[in-house]
Symmetry: C2
Subunit: 432 residues, 2 copies
């Protein structure tokens, strides 16, 4: 039996330093759980001079070869982030038969299809629990605990920044620009918030979740992405009155007949839905499977220590595999062909807010325009009337994405319609 | 490599038949995930004649030896329930070097300390994801994903029957007796509901959870147990007015200084707490760790298919270990000595409802009685006054279990106190 498991850490930033803290503070328990101690034997930093303090305790290097070519190192933990050179470093580590643990959703979403086969060829583990939902256990539960299920849907609040912003907008009636400024001041949003508010960060995580849930390789280009940057406070308010909360949801569905749909978008959820109560920077992933029914996993989706919790959980799991010589025991499970659902078959109810001229016959014309695209209306509410313009809120029954888009085009072309202000899908789901 | 993994199933009742359904319906996916097919090669039934239909598809037996002594069988899945002979059958299987999967909390809570070492000696897996929270992944997340954490607390709604009853009481103002009758009619409560409403079922699950979370062997006798059988509807109503929901919580805390406390009892939770929104037969487990902070796992805590989901997840995990010759890779982790917290150091706020004589000086006398036991009061509300008797509701600040019990004794002895009607602990916990 090995005397100790050796880790090479790439990057000692927010999460990397959290990993060092967890491994230090819980050394004794971790050793008992694994059977042997886990040592961080080398750390890759960008600038050796800047990392003076770290060098008192750890051996540092600024050359990736020092780690991937070190025959003593068992596990390479990649926490430098972004696509490059992270992807190349991970590939090099796998090629040198190192087990790899990462939190890097950017690399996984884009290069997963190259890296997983590489891990398999080299019979090593490639783990990434922290890449989705930060500290929340979700990758391993999907791969193990729920492995006997046909998963039919995964819906997640997987971006803390936007959930914080939506919570503030909803609870404090702050508008989008103000709340973004506050989030940036508090450090919850980056100075360039595009990836968060535009939905790209959530889309990357959805690619990872959906690929595992549906046993096929989903690509970033498969995801329909809409962010919260266009969201108007008044839609949150109207939603509330109708019993809905608006969340930025990453939604993956697998319809046995029509195939897989993946999208990220602001979504209205009945307030009774468990995801509707997930507020602030908390994340949650709501999974539905044929055997388990509905289940939800909630927790901190980011932050130094929660993310380090997940990374260290992976390190422990890899270490157990090393001890039992069972690395590669859970392979990539993307064995199914990908069948994407067409826009005709992506169904959901929808909320539409529009400004129309306030004159007789308008409602009938609107209803006719919807009707022509086979869209049935569940609810039409006139919200206000200002200077001859009425604000209408329409809730539809299930409508296909295609019909919805065509109905919106038709509405926009009607002379009596001044503006189609917002189109927000609704997820109505009774707990299973 | 083995050509197929062979399962011997003990008991084809509710969960057992669910397991057969899941393994049949999802055969193809499961085979791809494991690498080889999983076959149920024998089923133990009590009465061969009653099991005619089953015998068309499966080989049946009414002798346990036919299964535990069959050299072809890799995994024994125990789903006969109750303590005996389930415990003896599990022990026999382990002794014959069979991996064991079970959903049997009764056996685990009482005989875990005998069975885990047996599994270890024989280098086989002993898995029990379904024993707590039905389909909800919680055992494996605690043992793997959160393994790097010092877990400080686990609070769970782990009994669906009582959660259904409390939800009905709260939402429909039904009183205890009516709601119990309805739950029995719907099949949510058994004809003898004692184990559920009295808290024993939750206590057994807590023993399992706390043992894993705190790396030590908790016994059923360590758990302070109080059921919902004494619960009065008016306490639910008063709680609501004060912003609390009442849930039957299984609570395990590990205080670095004072040790471990484990209890099952009706508890007031702020309505904003994620557990407060878990309704009907849903279960949820709320875990706090030093690295992850707060996380919650929610889903169906019982039922044929959800429970089968967890059992089959275990079967797949064992099968992967068999393929990789790594059975026993996650050992029992009860390596720490047990330090139980004394009643003096178990602290929480408390709600107390009492009937007192309606005369001057009463409030002062009550406050003095609390004060004498070092109990500070946060809130005193007079709820009603009938025929010279006033109903008071008192919310205390943090009070130790010991002081609380003494204060209640003192109150009961006061001539002005007609009755101490209810004493319900409060969990005030800001999300971490
Ligand atoms: N932070 C979170 O809450 C969180 C949550 C989930 C997942 N993640 C993921 O975790 C990963 C790390 O995130 P983080 O927040 O820890 O980022 P971070 O604070 O920016 O840390 C990255 C560290 O890596 C170093 N680094 C970057 N490029 C390097 C290179 N080529 N060679 C050597 N060192 C290099 C950086 O050094 P310099 O400072 O010198 O550039 C920095 O110390 C990312 O993939 C992120 O998406 C983070
Ligand atoms: N049901 C749930 O939702 C749920 C949820 C979580 C955990 N569990 C646990 O899962 C286990 C099974 O529960 P269940 O609901 O499936 O119980 P069940 O419906 O009563 O099924 C038990 C089956 O085992 C058979 N059996 C009992 N003793 C036997 C013996 N000595 N030899 C052969 N067969 C025997 C019974 O046959 P007879 O009918 O002939 O007696 C019956 O078919 C229990 O440990 C339970 O605590 C259940």
């Amino acid at each position: 039996m090995k005397e100790c498991i050796k880790v090479g850490l790439l990057g000692a930033g927010t999460v990397g330093s959290g990993v060092l803290t967890v491994l230090e503070e819980n050394t004794a328990e971790i050793e008992k759980k694994v059977g042997v101690p886990i040592h961080v034997s080398k750390i890759l930093v960008r600038d050796m001079k800047k990392a003076k303090e770290l060098s008192e305790k750890y051996q540092l290097t600024d050359k990736i070869e020092d780690i991937v070519e070190d025959p003593e190192i068992d596990i390479v933990v990649e926490l430098i982030g972004r696509e490059h050179p992270a992807k190349e470093y991970i590939a090099a580590a796998l090629e040198h038969k190192k087990n790899v643990v990462t939190a890097n959703k950017d690399v996984l979403a884009k290069y997963g299809k190259e890296l997983f086969p590489l891990a398999e060829e080299n019979k090593v583990d490639f783990m990434f629990e922290a890449s989705v939902g930060g500290g929340i256990p979700i990758i391993r539960p999907l791969k193990s605990c729920l492995a006997a299920n046909k998963v039919t849907s995964v819906m997640g609040i997987v971006n803390g920044t936007t959930n914080y912003m939506l919570t503030k907008m909803s609870q404090e009636n702050m508008d989008y620009a103000d709340v973004l400024r506050e989030a940036q001041e508090k450090g919850y949003a980056e100075s360039d918030p595009t990836a968060d508010v535009g939905g790209l960060d959530a889309a990357r995580k959805l690619v990872i979740l959906a690929s595992i849930a549906f046993n096929t390789r989903i690509d970033l280009s498969d995801v329909l992405v809409e962010g919260i940057d266009g969201l108007d406070l008044c839609d949150i308010e109207h939603g509330k009155e109708l019993g809905y909360a608006i969340k930025l949801l990453a939604i993956a569905k697998n319809n046995a007949e029509h195939g897989i749909s993946v999208c990220v978008r602001p979504t209205m959820l009945p307030v009774s839905h468990p995801l509707a109560g997930v507020n602030d920077v908390f994340n949650a992933i709501f999974v539905t499977g044929d055997a388990i029914g509905d289940a939800m996993f909630m927790g901190r989706g980011a932050g130094k220590m929660p993310t380090a919790s997940a990374v260290c959980g992976d390190i422990i799991d890899v270490a157990r595999n090393i001890i039992h010589k069972s690395n590669g025991r859970i392979n990539c499970t993307c064995f199914d062909e990908k069948h994407l659902c067409s826009l005709e078959n992506m169904m959901s109810p929808c909320y539409i807010r529009l400004h129309v001229q306030d004159k007789p016959g308008v409602l009938a014309a609107i209803a006719a325009a919807f009707g022509a695209q086979n869209v049935s209306l569940k609810n039409v509410v006139q919200k206000s009337k200002v200077k001859g313009v009425a604000e209408l809120v329409v809730i539809t029954y299930d409508v296909s994405e295609l019909n919805l888009q065509m109905a919106v085009q038709t509405l926009k072309a009607l002379p009596i319609v001044e503006k189609v202000c917002s189109v927000i899908r609704v997820e109505d789901h009774d707990l299973e």
